[in-house]
Amino acid sequence: MNTTEKDIELFDSYMNGTMNDTDRAQFEERLRNDEAYRKAYELHSEVVLGIQRKELKAMLQEQEKAGQEHATTTKRRPLVIRISSILALAACLFIGIIIVHDAFRMANLGGDYIAQLEQPVPRGSGVEETLALIYDDLQQGNYSNAQENIDKARLLIQEEQSIAYPTEDETEYHQQILKLDNDELDWYQALVYAKTHKVLKAKKLLKQISKSDSWYQIKALEFIGQ
């Protein structure tokens, strides 16, 4: 049977389910009674399904390809992540070893400098008594007590700095003594930091001392240099 444009429109309409009830009944009636027409419709629907099947297969192939590409990327990703993690871990470990090594080195050096400490010289300020206590604490390895006494001494220095002396000379003299006490205190503080593994604080303070005109400037430079 030769199908016309009109037949194809009807076949498509029936396949798509867009025919109204009356037209569909008529169409189905013809399919039942007209064998040539039914065969033409069957051929049409088989070809249409073939066209659609081709597109569906292409789409699924495309999806499969995209899925495989995704799988390859995700397979590679864990390897990249694993390598990065190992490198990061190695870097952390290396830095950790350096930090720990540095902390112990500073603590040992701090111990050496504590052994070299001389008894604080009495210069006539009220701070010196506390400095003597700190000296004892350091010698006995009692660093938490030493820290407490350092904090106390700082407060005492502040108090003494506010005392007014009758003459300018006397004021200047006391200020100089307090400066020497303060330098002493900074050095003690650096040693406490070193002994208690506060590496960064110790280094910062040592650097500060090394740049000042403190009595301990050279020692601080030596400490950092070692």
Partner: protein, 182 residues
């Protein structure tokens, strides 16, 4: 989460997103099930999975699913089993398989089934040889379900009548090629 009915509607309308989503969602379980139960190779199973999806789509287009008594995924697995048995020429087992019977998947005898598959293969071969403009116009009309106006605009035809005429010519050409083979 989509219902099976929404997925069926998506398949019926050739909704790329829904079909691809369903395909991706069931692939792992399907391949595992058939690999573990029947020991088939991955290459074979991938073809089986794609063919099963095509058959599912076809059965939806033909209105064969009717009232679903199982989930769409179960139906897909049953289609896979049916296709695998057909490939292995285990027709006797198919006719007695309860799952396949329950899902109305076995509706013809072995000879008919082979004939049908052979016909489909030949039609697919002819369709795949289509060239421009037929390949584009028929794809737009039957797969993408575009209107005559949309096709005319995309393919730069002067009118929808010109589209209809061209589509008719293409279909006639295809049918003649199919008839020449059978």
């Amino acid at each position: 989460m989509m219902t099976d009915q929404q997925i069926i509607d998506g398949f019926r309308n050739n909704d790329r997103k829904i079909i691809n989503g369903f395909y991706a969602a069931n692939k792992g379980a399907f391949l595992n099930h058939f690999r573990n139960s029947y020991g088939k190779s991955d290459e074979y199973l991938l073809d089986l999975y794609q063919d099963s999806n095509v058959t599912l789509w076809e059965n939806i287009q033909k209105g064969k699913l009717g009232k679903m008594t199982s989930t769409l995924s179960t139906y897909l697995f049953a289609v896979g089993k049916y296709k695998m048995m057909a490939n292995d020429r285990k027709f006797k087992e198919m006719t007695t398989d309860v799952d396949l019977q329950n899902l109305n998947l076995v509706d013809s005898d072995a000879e008919e089934m082979e004939e049908k598959e052979e016909k489909e293969r030949k039609i697919d071969e002819i369709v795949s040889k289509m060239t421009y403009p037929c390949s584009d116009i028929l794809r737009m009309h039957y797969w993408e379900k575009l209107s005559g106006e949309e096709i005319a605009m995309q393919m730069k035809y002067a009118s929808t009548d010109a589209v209809k005429t061209q589509k008719y010519k293409c279909m006639q050409k295809l049918k003649q090629a199919v008839m020449a083979v059978f």
